[in-house]
């Protein structure tokens, strides 16, 4: 074929997007130096490389050593998840990245505060359901409650859904915190 003839119907000089593998949801625990800008580095990495963040929690965990723990829930194909872990480990202030989902033996919890407004039967029903979900009342007026509920995310999802017809006003959730079972530390 002559070199100067039409070579391709594609007009991009980049390879086509790979055919999609199945995306999985994983929880990553990221141990970092608690220094200015460290969260921006992590979030910038996710947005810059097009990774997803489903949930993110961050707090100092060891004050003496200036260490913080960031827990990130993310979705991606196995290849992307491996990239995320490797890219995170490349950042200088990051000490360790552990894929809690891959390790298989971890506990995940989330806390939510749920405000419900209502009177009469709705109010009684909300209180009854809260009791069944072991949610605590942490604020009350004659026409409202704020419940505190802790548990797995799907439990909180379910509770919030049940509150919807009973006068749900708003929800504040912490995002997921995770820790491995057993005696070993991270």
């Amino acid at each position: 074929m002559n070199a100067n003839a039409n070579v391709s119907s594609s007009t991009s000089h980049y390879p086509a997007a790979p055919t999609a593998q199945r995306a999985e949801t994983h929880t990553l625990s990221v141990l970092v130096d608690n220094e200015p800008g460290v969260l921006a580095r992590v979030i910038g990495l996710f947005s810059g490389r097009g990774y997803n963040i489903e949930s993110l929690t961050v707090s100092e965990t060891e004050h003496q050593k200036h260490l913080s723990l960031i827990t990130i829930v993310t979705t991606g194909t196995p290849m992307v998840l491996e990239q995320i872990k490797n890219q995170l480990e490349r950042l200088v202030p990051i000490h360790r990245v552990v894929d809690m989902t891959l390790n298989g033996n971890s506990i995940e919890r989330e806390l939510a505060m749920v405000k419900v407004r209502g009177k009469g039967e709705h109010r009684v029903e909300a209180l009854r359901l809260a009791d069944a979900f072991r949610a605590r009342v942490i604020d009350a007026t004659t026409e409202s409650f704020v419940f505190e509920i802790t548990g797995k995310s799907d439990k909180i999802d379910q509770f919030v859904e049940l509150m919807l017809p009973l006068g749900l006003v708003e929800v504040s959730r912490t995002g997921i915190a995770a820790i491995a079972r057993g005696p070993e530390g991270m």
Partner: protein, 586 residues
């Protein structure tokens, strides 16, 4: 020894302690205390560029040609933002750079002060690491850490942003003894079990191939020497990426030439058909792989890289080895020598016969001309007339860069400075300034295109000021040649904005800068003109007027695999070469 000094003095002291002799920069309000400190000493020489982008590219050329860290000093705001292109370029090509930026005083940060920008925010994604120093006590540690991070592991640029009040503040300076970061420990030694597995695969390979990259050059001279030893021991063919040229001598018969989009037919076909691929210090970049689902479908892949995130990023590999190239190569050579492993001679002989058939297609061939200078011919003559000298080559980005990679034979590492990952037009001229600064007695040539070189042309003024006799060899085809080529091949010949209608007279431009200008338009005059260029002891702008319609071949068209290369019409036709069943060349 601990001494009291100002932050600005600490900067100079730390540079001197790190062995820095040259720093490329441009002054401004927020770095004046540091310039004051430069003024007061003789240990570190400052090189005044004409634009901050040029400072970073010069430092890149300096770093890449010496193996040392390149240093940059710029002011806040526009000084920092102008440096961003260079920093990104250094990140993409893993070049160790420490860039010190001035910043407005700490109490004004966030206040939209004059020449303020969020330097650490802007440079976070385009540096390996960056710092904003808000306490004078942190400054000595941060400065030395910056050098450590820039030069260790996979090298890269590090920015240290220093507010003006910190430059004035007094504090105690001493050189820190060790590096306290516990999270940053690049792994040098490869996993021995994996290296054994790799060597075993290589020993049983029938169609093996080395595919190497810039990691070999970055790892140092030892890596390059060990690579040569391993290639000789095994008898395998070897190809390399653009960034890896020179790590293995181009004159050797086991060398297949560069691979990838504009690589040779034999290199790309060998990549496609090999059964064991030994990738060392390269990263399966999209210019290399072409169509991913058809990339070397039948091979076991071994990948040696110091950066774990390079492994399994684009291509799944069978034997990942995380470590420094020189360390891993040393283990491979030792295993090969001590355990009486031999290559499969018979299979290797057949493989080489196949490779010679591909080579016989002469994929780099072009139609010579007596009327007009062919750009390939220009590079061939430049190579012939400079190869016996102590020569360093830099390039801009585009067709001329690919022709330089194809036709200039690099025999040693660190002789080839080019913008690979980012593809920064305007890299070559400032880069050559940095190279010449580091190698004052050597011949430094920027193989340029007329469009690229105009992007950073002002740095010829720097070259003149410091009496740096860089040779700017412009392949002038009046087009952004690579853009024109893509428009010809993929956009129906609609040459939107790729022709430069008002080019300067480069000879007069050279004279305006007090440099030397040469124009050459005929192939017959070329040798004489090149000799004149080499002989002039000052910066030269060489306007080499070449065929404006020439395209760069061979080429892997978009969305195609390695075995679907497009050859120029001067290459040996398939039917004239020895054919192999099932291989259809486009």
């Amino acid at each position: 020894m601990t001494r009291e000094m100002t932050g600005a003095e600490m900067v100079i002291e730390a540079l001197a302690d790190q062995g820095v002799q040259h720093i490329f920069g441009y002054p401004g309000g927020a770095v004046l205390p540091i310039y004051d400190a430069i003024f007061a000493q003789k240990k570190v020489q400052h090189v005044l560029v004409r634009h901050e982008q040029g400072a970073v590219h010069a430092a890149e050329g300096y770093a890449r040609s010496t193996g040392k860290v390149g240093c940059v000093l710029v002011t806040s705001g526009p000084g920092a933002t102008n440096a961003v292109t260079g920093l990104t370029d250094a990140l993409c090509d893993s070049i160790p750079i420490v860039c010190i930026t001035g910043q407005v005083p700490t109490h004004l940060i966030g206040n939209d002060a004059f020449q303020e920008c969020d330097t650490v925010g802007i440079t976070r994604p385009c540096t390996k690491h960056n710092y904003l120093v808000k306490r004078i006590e942190d400054l000595p540690r941060v400065l030395h850490e910056a050098f450590h991070i820039a030069s260790s592991g996979r090298p890269g640029p590090v920015v240290v942003d220093i507010p003006k009040d910190i430059q004035f503040a007094k504090g105690l300076y001493s050189k820190p003894k060790d590096f306290p970061h516990t999270g940053y420990r690049p792994k040098l030694k490869g996993d021995m079990a994996k290296i054994k597995h790799a060597v075993d695969l290589m020993a049983h390979a029938k169609r093996p191939l080395f595919y190497t990259g810039g990691g070999i050059v970055n790892s140092g001279k030892a890596a390059s020497d060990l690579l040569r030893e391993l290639v000789k021991l095994t008898g395998f063919p070897i190809t390399s990426t653009l960034m890896g040229l020179g790590a293995y001598p181009a004159a050797d018969k086991q060398w297949l030439g560069m691979l990838g989009m504009h690589g040779t037919l034999e290199a790309n076909m060998a990549m496609h058909d090999c059964d064991v691929m030994v990738c060392i210090g390269a990263r399966f970049d999209d210019r290399i792989t072409g169509r991913l689902d058809a990339f070397s479908p039948g091979s076991k892949k071994i990948h040696v890289d110091i950066d774990p995130s390079s492994i399994n990023k684009n291509v799944h590999v069978d034997v990942p080895i995380i470590g420094d190239c020189a360390h891993v190569l040393e283990d491979m050579v030792r295993l090969w020598r001590t355990s009486a492993i031999h290559s499969d001679k018979k299979a290797l002989g057949d493989w080489w016969k196949q490779i010679e058939k591909w080579r016989a297609r002469k994929s780099l061939a072009y139609r010579p001309s007596n009327e007009v200078i062919k750009p390939q011919y220009a590079i061939e003559r430049l190579y012939a007339l400079t190869k016996d000298r102590d020569t360093y080559i830099t390039t801009e980005v585009g067709q001329h860069q690919m022709w330089a990679a194809q036709f200039y034979g690099f025999q040693e590492p660190r002789r080839w400075m080019t913008s690979g990952g980012l593809g920064t037009m305007g890299y070559g001229l400032p880069s050559s300034v940095g190279v010449q600064m580091a190698h004052p007695k050597s011949l430094v040539i920027d193989i340029a295109g007329e469009a690229s070189v105009l992007m950073t042309m002002q740095e010829i003024s720097t070259a003149v000021q410091y009496r740096l006799p860089v040779k700017i060899f412009i392949l002038n085809n009046q087009y952004m040649g690579m853009v024109r080529q893509w428009q010809e091949l993929l956009h129906g010949g609609r040459y939107a904005e790729s022709y430069t209608a008002a080019l300067p007279d480069f000879v007069k431009l050279a004279e305006a800068y007090h440099a030397h200008g040469i124009r050459c338009e005929k192939p017959g005059d070329l040798d004489h003109a090149i000799k004149e260029m080499i002989g002039v002891d000052k910066p030269v702008l060489f306007d080499c007027v070449v065929d404006p319609a020439e395209n760069c071949f061979p080429m892997i068209p978009s969305g195609r695999a390695h075995n679907e290369m497009l050859l120029g019409d001067a290459a040996v036709k398939l039917e004239d070469a020895i054919t192999e069943e099932g291989k259809v060349m486009v």
